[in-house]
């Protein structure tokens, strides 16, 4: 039994080392590939009111020594307040852009249009991924504060809500009088 256990340990040890080595290698490779792409935004904070359109730019740089081909950039929109519902499609219908090839040391600039929909703290960032989706590089955050939620000003509501039915009532009375006269 002991002999069997020794053989088992002897086989397992190199296998464990081999596995550890592979994971480390993969991790290193991932870090290197991720380091090839740097994404930057031209703004860090912006304030907007509901309905306002905001445009910002992101720059994707190739810091590696290989060209970046067929990379995809995507705009992420979320709120840090759990009570604020965000449907990204409402904020920006075009949130994915396909990049042209970027040569080593080169860069490309993308423009993003966002329309503020609901009030609250909103976070935007751009992620770039390779066509095989092995790695994802993201920009820093653009903090958008959507405030000034406008509600209906109640001033002057009474004349409207009273005079409109009153006008129609007067018209109804007039048709009634006309009908009686014609009888």
């Amino acid at each position: 039994m002991r002999a069997l256990a020794r053989i088992g340990v002897a086989c397992a040890l190199p296998l464990a080392l081999l596995t550890t080595y592979d994971a480390a290698a993969a991790s290193t490779e991932s870090a290197i590939v991720a380091g090839q792409v740097v994404v930057e935004l031209d703004q860090r904070e912006v304030a907007a009111s509901p309905g306002q359109k905001v445009t910002f730019e992101s720059t994707v740089r190739n810091t590696g020594d290989r060209p970046l081909a067929d990379y995809v950039a995507h705009l992420n929109i979320l709120s840090t307040d759990k009570s604020v519902y965000v449907d990204p499609e409402d904020w920006s219908p075009k949130r994915t852009q396909f990049l042209d090839e970027i040569r080593p040391g080169g860069s490309t600039t993308l423009s993003w249009d966002v329309r503020a929909v609901t009030s609250g703290p909103i976070l935007l960032f751009v992620s770039v991924t390779s066509p095989t989706a092995d790695t994802v590089s993201s920009s820093g955050p653009l903090k958008m504060t959507v405030g000034g939620q406008r509600v209906v000003n109640a001033g002057g509501v009474l004349p409207l809500v009273l005079w409109m039915p009153a006008g129609v009532l007067a018209l109804l009375g007039a048709t009634s009088v006309r009908r009686r006269r014609h009888r």
């Binding site: 409402d90 209906v152 109640a154 409109m164 009908r179």
Partner: protein, 275 residues
Amino acid sequence: MADLDAVDAAPTTGTPATSAGSTWTVAEQELRDLWLSGRGVAMLLAYTVLLSITTYLIATNQELNFLEQREAVSLTLQLAVAVGGLLVVLVAADAVSGERERGTLESLLLTPAPRRSIIIGKGIAAISLWIGAFALAVPYIWWIGRDVGTFGVAFVGGLVVGTLLALALTGIGLLISTFSQSNGLSLALSFVVLLALYVPHQMPAEATRGWAGELVLKLDPFSAGLLYLERLIVNSHSLSQDLGLLVVPALCAVGLPAVALLVGGRLSLLPRSGS
């Protein structure tokens, strides 16, 4: 009654009147019957009272005034379109079955006016109620959205969507009315159809996600039209951005009145039940 007046107004030479001429004669009589009798104005009075109550609550009630101003505009406009559609369907559903129940359809059918002219004339009267309703809704929409610059798109969007839905509902009402022996049945059926069309739009957001939910929203003319208005005003979409949502309402606005017209060519006195 409108039909008896139509008999008086019809040519007495024995030759059928021209289709356009007789259509206008029927439409004129129906419009007089609807508006000068006070029936249409009474409906619009109820309509303005409803809009006034809603607007007052939106402006003063804390729960409703929590709505963002554009959402308040959207809510009022959708209400105006939905209730305007209800008024149209009520008039259209009464058009033929009402005459049948009052025993005046026979004399109407004896006039030289082609049967399709009768249907078109009654349809014009039903549509006129929507035009009146929308005209009365405009001050409310302007007042609620006066600070956020949504009046222009709300006006255009509401007019387009409301007119498409009014045409479709006129077709539905006329179709049901043509085949109904009793006016009560026609009104009840039309009302049920209207409610059924309104249901998908009232479903929770979770229920309308996924391809099936989106398909239902797009295939239901009422839901698609109201969703178009919501996106136009709340999400500040442009008038052309969601035109795909108006395909089904537009098809229904053309197709349903066309079917009603086609069927109306065979308009007849239905045998009374039990006879």
